[in-house]
Amino acid sequence: MRIEINDLTKRYSRGAVPALDGLNLSIDRGTFGLLGPNGAGKTTLIRILSTQLSPTAGTVTIDGLDLSRQRAEVRSRLGYLPQAFGAYPSLTAFEFLDYVGRLAGMHKRRARHERIEEALEDVGLTKVRDRRSGTFSGGMLRRLGIAQAVLANPDFLIVDEPTVGLDPEERLRFRALLSRLSRDRAILISTHIVGDVSSTCEEIGVLDRGKLRYLGAPEGLVSVADGKAWEVTVDDAGFIEMSERFHVVGVVPDGDALALRMVGDAEPPAGASPVAPNLEDAYVYFIESEIDGTAA
């Protein structure tokens, strides 16, 4: 399984700033995390990859299938969990999956039903298979979403903001599920929650203003921020000063003072202690530096 993206450009209207600007990317089997701030072009890329949108220029091939020309074939190999996923509230989990399975071309009844049971088992919804989805919690609905996305055993799974709205426990379960699924297919996770990719992705891409700013292993991105992450305890005035000089990643109240975690190129203040950067520190450092034009 290989997804090749070559010089992909998307403009929503003539003369407008491109939402994607000459993007080149290739994704192999495993989990690929797509990070980027709002407006970076993630959703546009996802829509193009999920065949809902046509590019202005460039090509996308999935295992050699041209996405623009062989849309139906691509769709049959594609699983997709949109960010705003819902199900018909009057259908049960089983019925909904049955409907989706039929639409995905699974016309053999027995095979389809077996696959539905597997998918329900995978996402832990077997017990509620006959409950109408209108009664599901957000987490159950999200799991139903992933079940429908993987129902037809797609080669390529696109998951858009998979953990938004989930509680921490659900989020962990979901990440584990994605990891399990990534063993035999390519998964593209588009998210702005760094934790989603740090725990699941072998490779990540950082998209900003339509261009791919980083492509590589998460560790590679982390190394960018080596020696740039600090922890310091300051008062309110100190917080304002640090916010101007650094990118504050975390703030924890400590009595009357504030314990800050921050990244940046500036000289650290007295009392600051260096810390090993994590992916989130690195992502913030990277993105903010990109905006400032100082990235490495």
Binding site: Q52, A84, E95
Partner: protein
């Protein structure tokens, strides 16, 4: 294949989703509930003796109609929702990335919704079938499934398919669920309410206005046009669906689906346009053909008409060669002064003439142009001579070839795609329906184009009909000989008829009838009944003798009362399919279903009579002994009267009256006033004679003396027939006010019958029937009946005009009945010729008021008390009037016909031995709608005077009636209205006082009135007048007759108390009335003193809790001699028993 599976998958789940919605469940509940509800309502209506239509498709039609109507409206909300529902459920993106095309998605969703709604349709059909089948099994009537399937396939499903597609298309174009639903809803309602019947029904997408009443005899009839239009709508549905797919932009799709869908949609559009053009071209062609046919008639109208005096017809029905094969020998006479070179006859354009030969068998030249056949004789036919022609023709009836002129209202209803005259005549394997006008045999002359319609030919005939063996034939005449009239040879049967008594027209009916025959009163009576409708006949099996005796008695009574013996040896009553009568409307066509010796009855008429239930009811209500046969006899008589002799305003009127046969088929009516004899005389016979015979039969068979003249109350029934009742309006087309207006604008002679045929017909009824009633009152009943009898005898088979009839009645020789006129002055004696002249030729209509009614108790010279009833009647209009004044005692009654000049008053004295209770005045032709009534108070003492009867003119001085009536339409009536209210609600005329008119009104007051809900007293109704003379006046408030009943029953929320203030001599007097205590009509508010010239008024306050009515107020100069109560409640009249109105 996989594409189709995807489509069906979408359909399957869309259906599931739809069926789980609340809207669907509500629609389902309504759909299932409708047939049950309607079934219950019909059953209740039938149990109460109503005519709800037990048989046929009616039980299926009504629920389907209502449900289909509801469904196509609800579709707008269900089908317009599909995209929005996906987006709302946030599943759209999931679906959009599946290997699915737009066509699959849209068509799948369409099919899903369609399936869901079809499930409901089938359920509704199932429930309807169960309800109807259960009901019919109780009634012992066979059940048929065809009508139900017919309605499902013709009405329900096409409407469903089309409206769903339309809503999808609107949804795809407008991309707004609410907008799409509203546009679809507006379209549906527009079609259903406004466009449905117009433009030939092309907007009737659900066949809601198509003539789809199922007939047991004929099924649905010719459905070709209905089916064509259904196909058009279904093709349009496919095209709309194609457009919906095209306009639905979200899913990219493969070329096959995209282009395949487009091709199918375009092909459907082409089919749709093709069908539309086909319909239009066919209609235009048939219209052009009809114009051409008409031209042929008009062209030949000036040619002299040869008399066709005898036919020898040999007919073969439904043969392999043609539906009708005829060999007709015609005896043709020349009654003109010139020799005839050609014989012009009418013959249906669908019949092809093979040959025409003369006496010697030599072929003759002929030209068959449309439905006009011109035969060139070998030698001219000399005046007075006769010859014989032999015509051979074959073919089918062209239903375009007759009935070439239609009046505008009729054209609106009967032209166009859905109203093609498919049920006007036909020849089928199982049934034949050939009324005379279809032109199935050669008829003398042409049908159109004459300045004055010529007198018809009267002809005898021998008719031989070869038909399929199971077909029974009905035509004029009797079977040639009872034993050998019909002979069966294998699959064919030959029937022979001899028509000895000349008839003007021939009709031919055939069908698989059961025949019931009996000789009653010297007439062979036969009932031809469809086998499935036998319950109506078998019910009388055990009362056959009683029914026969009743019929005999009735025929005798009819002959006695009309002076018209039944002219034919045989009377055939033949069932014909339901709705046939739709195509025979208008009074000139009233006889379309009636022929000499043949009365055609629609099949629902007999079978819808729920005799058993009526019988059971009577049985339950009987105290003690119950004579079942007598009750059945009564039911039989009642049925006969309802079916055949009801007044025209009720049910079918004279359409199938045997009285029409008695009068109309034995003579021809000519001259300017021919309509009076042709139309008004049968109406008069039907209403007056019929009602007399009816009351005689239903009151136990005790014939009363003719002098009683029980039912000739004014023009009451006839005027009721043209009053505002919806039913009668449908029948006559004109309401009484329009008739009155028309009569006062134009003389009868000046009226153009074609300008507004319905109005003309109503005027003929109003004037003609009144004239006959007046003639009868003036000449005495016996004399009038004798005159009719003599006239009928002398005019048999001849053309007669109204002058002949007047001469026969002797209008110039008669005097009033009652005592000698010696004691009276001449003013009140009727001059019948003048009255006839005045009413028929004038434009004024008399109107009457009783101005005085009192009694003197006298002694007759032999020591016996006698009562002298003195009545003054004023004719307040310019027209010459005639009334009958009746003094009515408890045992006895005396009457006198009196003529009253325009704008004058007569005083009439009548002597009656019995103690008189009231006096009534029957107007014959007047603005009054009913009789006037005044109660009488008999003094206790005998006055010393000579009893005398007289009629004298009351001079102006002697007339002491000073009366002012202000009606709600008069100038003195006002409704002070707040400006703002008028601005805000301009629909309100006069503020919150709505104008209403009433159905049962008579006299001028109750015609219409104002109505308002009680409020704060700011909007009173005010009646104002100027007093002409000083004195005490009785002030009265007119209370709507209906309102008395409403007030007493508490319905309609009538105000229980109302307040009126009377302004007099600068004082204000307030009267509070309890509406439950009010009389129908005038209610005295009190006696008040007024100055001459004073501006006075009466106010009805709107401060009340409940509804108020404002109609009229009267100030009448008080006169101690007078007791007035002249307007009897019509409710009393309506509910009076048949045998005694008073």
């Amino acid at each position: 294949m996989s594409g189709l599976r995807g489509l069906l998958s979408v359909a399957r789940y869309e259906r599931t989703l739809l069926m789980r919605t609340t809207r669907y469940r509500v629609l389902g509940a309504a759909g299932i509930g409708i047939p049950i509800f309607i079934g219950v309502i019909l059953a209740i209506a039938e149990a109460r003796g109503g005519e709800a239509g037990t048989m046929f498709g009616v039980g299926a039609f009504v629920p389907f109609y209502v449900y289909s109507f509801l469904q196509t409206v609800v579709i707008a909300f269900i089908a317009g929702d599909f995209r929005a529902a996906d987006e709302r459920a946030q599943v759209y993106e999931v679906i959009a990335v599946r290997p699915l095309s737009t066509t699959q998605l849209v068509v799948g969703k369409y099919l899903g919704i369609l399936q869901g709604l079809m499930v409901l349709s089938f359920a509704v059909m199932g429930v309807t079938v169960l309800v109807q089948a259960a009901k019919l099994s109780v009634l012992g009537t066979p059940f048929r499934l065809e009508p139900y399937l017919g309605y499902l396939l013709l009405m329900n499903l096409p409407g469903l398919i089309y409206m769903t597609a339309l809503t999808f298309c609107l949804g795809a174009i407008l991309r707004n669920r609410t907008a799409a639903a509203l546009v679809a809803l507006a379209y549906a309602l527009g079609c259903l309410i406004f466009l449905g019947e117009r433009y030939g029904g092309v907007f009737d997408y659900g066949a809601f206005y198509a003539p789809l009443f199922y007939s047991d005899i004929l099924g649905f009839g010719d459905l070709s046009r209905v089916i064509e239009l259904r196909l058009l709508y279904m093709a349009l549905a496919v095209a709309l669906l194609g457009l919906a797919v095209e306009r639905y932009p979200r899913l990219a799709q493969a070329g096959l689906w995209r282009w395949g869908g487009r091709v199918v949609a375009l092909a459907a559009l082409a089919v749709c346009v093709g069908i539309g053009f086909g319909i239009q071209r066919s209609d235009e062609a048939s219209q052009a053909e009809r114009v051409d046919f008409l031209r042929a008639h008009v062209t030949r109208a000036a040619e002299p008409i040869a008399s066709l005096v005898h036919y020898d017809m040999s007919l073969q029905l439904h043969t392999e060669q043609a539906p009708l094969v005829a060999d007709v020998r015609l005896r043709v006479g020349n009654t003109h002064d010139v020799a005839l070179g050609q014989v012009v006859v009418s013959l249906n354009s669908g019949l092809t003439v093979d040959s025409i030969a003369d006496n010697a068998g030599s072929p003759l030249d002929f030209e068959h142009d449309g439905s006009v056949l011109a035969i060139t004789l070998g030698a001219p036919l000399e005046p007075g001579a006769e010859t014989q022609l032999r015509l051979k023709y074959a073919g089918d009836i062209d239903r375009n070839g007759f009935d070439l002129i239609r009046t505008a209202p009729r054209r609106d209803r009967s032209d166009g795609p859905l109203r093609m005259p498919q049920l006007t005549s036909w020849i089928r394997e199982d049934t034949v329906f050939l009324p005379a006008r279809a032109g199935w045999y050669p008829r003398a002359g042409v049908d159109y184009g004459y300045d004055e319609p010529p007198a018809p030919s009267f002809a005898t005939a021998n008719i031989e009909v070869d038909s399929p063996a199971d077909m029974r034939i009905v035509t004029q005449g009797s079977p040639s000989s009872p034993d050998s009239a019909s002979s069966n040879t294998g699959s064919r049967r030959t029937s022979l008829f001899t028509v000895d008594r000349p008839v003007p027209v021939f009709t031919l009916n055939g069908g698989r009838y059961n025949v019931y025959e009996a000789r009653i009163g010297g007439v062979d009576m036969a009932l031809y009944l469809y086998p499935e409708h036998m319950t109506a006949v078998s019910f009388f099996d055990d009362a056959a003798d009683e029914a026969r005796a009743a019929l005999e008695q009735m025929l005798g009574a009819i002959v006695r009362e009309t002076g018209l013996p039944y002219p034919y040896e045989r009377l055939n009553l033949v069932e014909v399919p339901l709705v046939v009568q739709w195509y025979y409307e208008g009074w000139r066509e009233a006889g379309g279903l009636t022929g000499p010796g043949v009365l055609m009855i629609e099949e629902d008429v007999l079978t819808s009579q729920n005799l058993q239930r009526s019988f059971n009811r009577r049985q339950r209500g009987a105290d003690g002994e119950f004579d079942a046969a007598a009750v059945k006899r009564d039911l039989f008589v009642q049925e006969i009267f309802e079916l055949f002799m009801s007044p025209e305003s009720e049910r079918y009127g004279i359409f199938r009256s045997p009285l029409v046969q008695l009068w109309s088929y034995d003579r021809a009516f000519v001259g300017d006033r021919s309509n009076l004899l042709e139309r008004a005389m049968p109406v008069y016979l039907q209403q007056d004679v019929g009602s007399e015979v009816r009351s005689m039969m239903l009151s136990g068979g005790n014939s009363r003396p003719r002098g009683r003249e029980e039912s000739t109350v004014a023009s009451a029934e006839m005027l009721a027939a043209v009053s505002d009742s919806g039913q009668s309006q449908a029948r006559t087309g004109s309401d009484w006010n329009a008739v009155l207006d028309a009569m006062q604008k134009e003389t009868f002679a000046d009226m153009n019958p074609d300008a507004d045929p319905e109005l003309y017909r109503s005027v003929v009824d109003a004037k003609g029937v009144s004239v006959f009633r007046m003639m009868r009152a003036v000449t005495s009943s016996d004399a009038f009946v004798n005159a009719i009898e003599g006239f009928a005898e002398e005019s048999r088979h001849e053309g007669v005009d109204f002058d002949d009839f007047e001469a026969a009645v002797g209008t110039d020789q008669v005097t009033a009945e009652g005592p000698s006129a010696a004691e009276s002055d001449s003013s009140g004696e009727p001059d019948m010729q003048r009255l006839v002249q005045s009413w028929l030729e004038g434009t004024a209509v008399p109107g009457y008021t009783i101005t005085r009614a009192n009694v003197r108790k006298l002694e007759d010279g032999r020591g016996n008390p006698v009562h002298q009833v003195i009545v003054r009647v004023r004719n307040g209009e310019a027209a010459l009037g005639f009334v009958r004044i009746n003094a009515i005692g408890f045992e006895d009654e005396v009457s006198k016909g009196v003529q009253i000049e325009g704008n004058s008053e007569v005083e009439v004295a009548l002597l009656i031995g019995d103690r008189p209770a009231r006096v009534t005045v029957d107007p014959f032709f007047a603005k009054n709608r009913r009789s006037l009534v005044a109660p009488l108070r008999v003094p206790d003492f005998i006055q010393p005077d000579q009893p005398a009867e007289y009629v004298r003119l009351v001079t102006q001085e002697a007339s002491n009636l000073v009366e002012i009536v202000v009606d709600n339409e008069d100038e003195g009536f006002s409704l002070p209205t707040r400006r703002v209210q008028r601005y805000l609600r301009p629909g309100l005329q006069g503020g919150g006082w709505w104008v209403r008119s009433t159905l049962f009104s008579y006299g001028r007051y109750a015609n219409n009135y104002r109505m308002k809900n009680g409020s704060d007293g700011a909007e009173p109704a005010i009646w104002s007048a100027t007093m002409p003379r000083e004195g005490e006046y009785d002030v009265a408030y007119y209370f709507l007759p209906e309102a008395t009943a409403w007030a007493r029953s508490g319905v309609w929320g009538l105000a229980s108390r109302i307040e009126l203030t009377i302004h007099h001599r600068n004082e204000v007097h307030t009267v509070e009335l309890d509406t439950t205590e009010l009389n129908a009509g005038w209610n005295l508010l009190g006696r008040f003193d007024f100055e001459a010239g004073a501006e006075v008024r009466v106010e009805l306050s709107d401060k009340a809790s409940g509804r108020l009515y404002a109609d009229a107020v009267r100030w009448r100069l008080a006169d101690s001699d007078l007791v007035y109560e002249e307007d009897v409640s019509p409710w009393e009249v309506q509910t009076g028993s048949l045998s005694g109105r008073r």
